[in-house]
């Protein structure tokens, strides 16, 4: 899974800690999310998408092999 969180965070001028605080998770979780090393719940994905005025599909990009 690839994510655009890092790119969008830079565009919105947010630090990892600020984003973590907004969506109500630990900073480490944001780190794992940015690296694509954690699959978030639908609720968390929606919260992140809302912060960036975007959709879940635009932020979390799944390739075919991720869905196997």
């Amino acid at each position: 899974m690839k994510t655009r969180i890092k790119e969008l965070r830079a565009r919105f001028d947010l630090t990892q800690e600020q984003l973590a605080k907004i969506v109500g998770v630990r900073r480490e979780t944001i780190v794992f999310l940015e690296k694509g090393e954690y699959n978030p719940s639908l609720k968390l994905a929606a919260k992140v998408a809302r912060v960036f005025n975007s959709t879940i599909e635009e932020i979390f990009i799944f390739e075919d092999r991720d869905l196997e």
Binding site: M1, E17, A20, K21, G24, V25, R26, R27, E28, T29, F32, K35, G36, E37, Y38, N39, P40, S41, K43, L44
Partner: protein, 132 residues
Amino acid sequence: MNSKKRFVFLLIISLLMVIGTIFFSANLISLGNSSMALVLLFIMIIPLGILSVFIRKCYYDLKAGVPGEDERTKKVRLYAAGYAYFISLYVWILLLAFNKYLDDDLLMIGLFGMTVSFYLSWVLLNRKKGFE
């Protein structure tokens, strides 16, 4: 458990541990077993040191306003508990096989094994990539 409750809980636990250690050490010294009291003090430094790290981390979380635990940490803990359960079964089978050599230490070693298996599972799962 939110950061504030977690912080208070850890503080109370560490305080109880310190009081308990002082109480037992004083008791051992009064019984004339000061060397054992010293051993107890040295042993208790390890869990108290680990607890102080957690308290410090918890304090900074509280200050930063981020939660002490979230969906990922909860998932890691649940999975770690599951793995530790299976490992513990084998630990107990192994201990029961060597029952006659262990005498009264069986329960203590078993509980220690369960704790270690949970801690190891937690550490490994916490570093796992692609955790779902």
